[in-house]
Structures are given as structure tokens and as C-alpha cells.
Symmetry: C2
Subunit: 269 residues, 2 copies
């Protein structure tokens, strides 16, 4: 099946408890999760066979800015402290990859499940975006109602075992006089990508054209604004795909796991 | 063999580059490493067969305060970015455990090495002790020239797979008016145990008698001082031993790996 994002969800989505949101998704609601369950942490999902899990976790340990692991569900587990539910059904949409190729986009991966699958919950920059907005820093893709623009860079991650790949970054244009605020605010969230990896020069990252992101949507960069780049949670997906595992399951872009952790749990005071 | 700590090392040990220190150890010098290569990070070592490595790394991810992983040498690797040398020979002393029992204490584990061994380098509180001293906070065991006192607690770590165990803490007595400084200073080193896990009440951690530590040496707690407890790098060793792996290799207590990373690399500004 192909999943199409829809907007016909309850209007109080920002106020829904994570458990209630996950129940709607489990019942079949398909929607991007931006704006849902405000104040609760959303996570990227990466599910791999156990014999690739060590390489993935070492890769994440070596590249903590793009791959901040929030929790691991061991082989055979489908729930955990961040998820009182079932990781196979509680996201609005999933992507299933076989030998590194997209095999299916679906709302329920129970049919693909095996006892040797290990699930990694990886931090997401949604967590610091509300802090940016509260700090008066504009978040353009939210203002424009589109997905954040993401770019493959010429920078390689430090590889681990079978897993290697490029650093993927997200970009937010920030008024020059607020760049320091954006750095300061996001630095306080090291578990969810933290401070920017680069400020100001796309070419230095091998990005030729900001208006043509590799993932997500382009956004306006206005006069007086500087492009600011953060390590992105798509990095682990890009790396896993390069290694062409026999089976990998991930969330569909923008359709995240809404967890039982609070954004403030990842704030360093 | 039994390894006896000695003090007959070069008097400029604080100024030695890590590489030079490791060469002395490789050539057979046996000494605790406290005070060596000041400003350079020292690390706990834990070496395990690959089929236990995922459980260990998930355990560390779930218990980051006692088990801060600085780097992983993959199966077959004996050096890495933190260690331009050979992890089998470059520590002053090792402990080898077979089925969870101490089998040998030695200065060279080359004879035990197997291609499936994975080495974990785990952060050590030596890193923040120099910051405490610079911040005017006394570090009693250094003043008294003994090993830091360490205690098993009644708190259990969150288990992972085959690995489970108690939280082990180190204790430093701090004058009541400097406890806030000690918290503030060590909070800035989250990669090497970070802020204290507990301040002031040993009984709440299940510690009956501060004068009888489970590891290391007792230190004086003076009037007006409060016992402050930090998560301790002995925790992963205690947990691994509980799981009785067929083979495990660790540093001998106090005989750490002197790495090529600077303490300041782990400072959060």
C-alpha cells in the first residue's frame, strides 16, 4: 500500500497524551506527527536483525550527533519504558526495506516481525524546535507548513563494522543576529542532535543548492538570514541502507513514534 | 603472576604524553595511573566476546552515568582513535576473568587474545577530579594518597540481555558549602559520570558503613563535610562478572588506559 498523509485528525492533537495518540495510529490514522502531543518526545525508529545490531549501536556511539539513541528494545521486545504499547503498530506509517530496497510502506509491520529484530529509538530534532520557537527563533518549515529540508553532505560518518554512510543534515534559516541564540538553545539538548554542526556555508558541506534538498521540502532563506545545519536523524537510515541489510524497518519520514518521555527529560540545565 | 603497584616511575609522569606513558607500560612498568599525563583522559577497559558485546553496549546505553562509553574497538581491532598503540599491552596491568572468576592478573594479555574480542573504553572520574581541584573542591583520596572509596549500592542498574548488576558509586567527602560547586563542576562532564547520583545519605543507597568500602580505600569524612556519591566505572565490571562470561578482560583497578583524548574533549561548556 501507499500511505498518503492526511490532515483529517482531531484538532486537539497538540494536547493528546502520547498513549492516546499512539492508539489513534494503531487504529489506522495516517498523519505526519509534527505538532502532536506537544512537550512529549518523538523518535525515529530503526529496526534491524540482531546480527547487525551491534554494528548499528557502535555506529551510533561513534556518531552521537546524528544518531542519538534514546532507547533499545531488545530482540523479542515490542514495548519498553519509552513506549507502553506495541512498536509494530503504534506509529502512523512505516517503511520496510529488504536488501536495502524499499519493499513496502505500511501502517502495521506485524506481518514482517521476527523474534531476532532489535528496535532502536533515535532522537529527533522536533524536541528542540519548540524550544527554539519559545526562545523567539523562527522555525521556517513550521511557519511554511512543510517538512524540514534535509541534505546529504560530503562529510562521512565514522563507520562501524558493516555500517557506513554520509552525514545527513537538516537546515533552518536563522536571522544572523539570532544564530547565537539558536546555538545556545539547541546545545542544551545534546541527546537530540544538540548544537549545529555547521553555520553559514553550504558549499563546505558539499551542498550545491539549498533549494533542492535530498529529503523534505525547500524553505525560504530571506535576506539577513544564515543557513544553520544540524545533524539529522535520517543519517542512520542512510547508513543502514548503504549496508543493504536483509531486513530493516523504519518509520515513514515525518511519521514518528510519539514516546512517553518528555522533551524536558533531554534538556541539560 | 601477581602485580604489585610500585612508585619507582619517572618523576615527570604528570607531563608525559599519553603515547610515552603507554610505551613505559608496554615495556613492563606496573603502576597505578593516577597523576599520569595530566590533562589527558584515562579510561576503564572492558573486553568481551562479540556475542556478548551487544548486550554490554545496550547495558551501557541504558546506564550512561556509570557506563559512559568513550569508544569501541571492533572485533579484531587492537587500536583506534583514542589509542595509537595496542590495547593488549599498553595498560600497566590487566585482570582476566574466565566464567566470571579472576583467572590471572598480568601486564600483557596477548596470550589471551582472540579475533572475536570487542574492547570497550569507558570514561573514568579521574577526568573531572582535576577540574574539582582547580575549582577549589578538595579531593580527599588524592590528598591522602589512596584509591577512591567505592561502594556497591542497593540500586540496580537497568538490565540488558544477559547483563545486570548493582550501581557502584565512588564517594568524595565535600564541605557542605562546596557541594553546589562540586555538582556544578562535575555536571559539565556528562561523558565521564557527570553530576553526583546522590548527596548526603549513605543509608538511602544501602551503604551501611562508609569506612568499609567494597573497592578502594576508606577516606576521612571531616566535621562539616557531606558524603557525595558519583556513578562509578566499576559498575560495568560488576555487571559483567554477574553474567559470568566465558572470557572477559579488564584493567586492574587504578591501572587505567591513558588515552589520546584530552579531558577538555569531554567538557560541556
Amino acid at each position: 500500500m501507499t500511505v498518503h498523509p492526511t490532515d483529517d485528525h482531531a484538532p486537539d492533537r497538540a494536547g493528546l497524551a502520547p498513549r492516546a495518540a499512539r492508539q489513534l495510529f494503531r487504529e489506522g490514522l495516517v498523519t505526519p506527527t509534527a505538532g502532536w502531543s506537544r512537550g512529549w518526545t518523538q523518535a525515529n525508529l530503526m529496526v534491524l536483525p540482531r546480527d547487525l545490531a551491534l554494528d548499528f549501536l557502535v555506529f551510533a556511539q561513534r556518531n552521537p550527533k546524528p544518531c542519538p539513541v534514546l532507547d533499545v528494545l531488545e530482540a523479542g521486545e515490542v514495548s519498553g519504558p519509552l513506549l507502553d504499547g506495541d512498536v509494530r503498530t503504534d506509529l502512523p506509517a512505516y517503511r520496510v526495506y529488504v536488501d536495502g530496497e524499499l519493499a513496502e510502506e505500511t501502517t502495521d509491520v506485524s506481518g514482517w516481525w521476527r523474534e531476532d529484530l532489535v528496535s532502536f529509538l533515535v532522537g529527533c530534532s522536533f524536541t528542540f524546535e519548540s524550544a527554539l520557537v519559545e526562545g523567539g527563533v523562527p522555525v521556517r518549515h513550521v511557519e511554511q507548513g512543510v517538512n524540514v529540508p534535509m541534505y546529504m553532505t560530503s562529510r562521512r560518518c565514522r563507520p562501524a563494522g558493516a555500517i557506513s554512510g554520509p552525514l545527513v543534515v537538516s537546515m533552518r534559516p536563522v536571522p544572523a543576529e539570532q544564530v547565537a541564540d539558536a546555538v545556545r538553545i539547541t546545545s542544551r539538548y545534546p541527546a537530540v542532535h544538540g548544537a549545529p554542526v555547521h553555520v553559514g556555508d553550504p558549499a563546505a558541506l558539499g551542498i550545491a543548492d539549498l533549494s533542492r534538498p535530498d529529503f523534505g521540502d525547500p524553505v525560504d532563506v530571506r535576506p539577513g538570514e544564515v543557513p544553520v545545519f544540524w545533524a539529522c536523524g535520517v543519517t542512520p537510515q542512510a547508513a543502514v541502507m548503504e549496508s543493504r541489510p536483509p531486513l530493516a524497518i523504519a518509520h515513514a519520514p515525518g511519521h514518528m513514534l510519539v514516546t512517553d518521555a518528555r522533551d524536558s527529560d533531554y534538556l541539560v540545565p
